[in-house]
């Protein structure tokens, strides 16, 4: 190798490093795939928030749904709430996992801000959330009709996230269900 070429080695290394760092700018280290992807929702037996009726994994299955982990102490949940309400209005089945919250506060929240959830699992101790691998609210899980976790989104669901990430997967799962039961 010519020694003149060797002089360009630092420049080359710099270019590689710059490329890697540039790529790093657009990566979100908080975005981790759920360990439960393509696995059924963990077994649970927890009360419904309003009625107190016991729910289990069978209640969740049946239809492609979003399972939204929320709490009244979670500021970002308040930010995403109006969008969830509009999603529910457009016919998306949304289930709530009320995470380490107080029932009274949660019920007041739903009364004041609207209720996008078909029902809410009251996970007061965070046991189901722990089994799900939740590490902060809000998180939204996309479940297929069998109650199998297909995708997890960490953070606020807004118009952009729904259109670019969740909606395509949601439509795909819906199409699969439609194909199975003509």
């Amino acid at each position: 190798m010519g020694s003149r070429l060797k002089l360009f080695l630092p420049l080359f290394l710099f270019a590689v490093l710059a490329l890697l760092l540039f790529r790093g700018l657009s990566l979100d280290p908080m975005e981790m795939p759920s360990a439960l992807i393509d696995r059924p929702l963990p077994a649970f037996s927890l009360p419904e928030l309003a009625s107190g009726e016991l729910l289990d994994a069978a209640a969740v299955a049946g239809e492609v749904s979003l399972l939204n982990v929320w709490a009244t102490w979670c500021v970002s949940c308040r930010v995403e709430h109006p969008y969830l309400v509009s999603l529910a209005d457009s016919g998306v089945r949304i289930l709530g996992l009320n995470y380490k919250d107080e029932d009274a506060a949660a019920l007041r929240w739903l009364q004041d801000l609207g209720n996008p959830y078909q029902f809410n699992i009251a996970d007061r101790q965070g046991t189901l959330a722990l089994d799900l691998g939740v590490y902060g609210a809000p998180e939204t899980y996309l479940l297929d009709a069998e109650g199998v976790v297909r995708y997890r989104h960490v953070g606020v669901v807004d118009e952009r996230v729904w259109q670019t990430v969740l909606e395509p997967l949601y439509s795909e799962l819906r199409a699969a269900v439609a194909a199975e039961s003509p």
């Binding site: 360990a35 799900l132 691998g133």
Partner: protein, 158 residues
Amino acid sequence: MRISLGGVLALLITLWSLQALAVIETYEFSDPALEERYHSLSEELRCPKCQNQNIADSNAPISRDLRRLLYEQLESGASDGEILEHMVARYGEFVRYRPRFAGATVILWLTPFILLLAGAAIVALTLRSKGSRGGEHPLSDAERARVDNLLANREGSD
């Protein structure tokens, strides 16, 4: 040296507040060996929320939950392997500071060794090329005569 009361107070307050920060919940273990394992495991498990802290250092709610889970599992007699398995099933390989050697973690485990080998190769090549060029050139007769001449001139000019 005069020590002011204010200074002493300030020092005490500093020390005291550090103490307060260090207090995270404590667990009573039925066996000191379990406590030992609790400490080593809680240092090996990474907080999923704060990412660059282990669950022993982190005060995030999720870390508190994981410590409680760890405590409960230790008390119920689970082995270290079972506990790690349990955590990984929920939070992925990410939750371990020493992820298992497989698929996605191959690069992580092998890169240091590859870099070390590459470094050794570069050093070897550099040394070899230096050696082949011959570090020492004995002076030819003409060169020696010139050096002698220059030195003689220099001494003469002093």
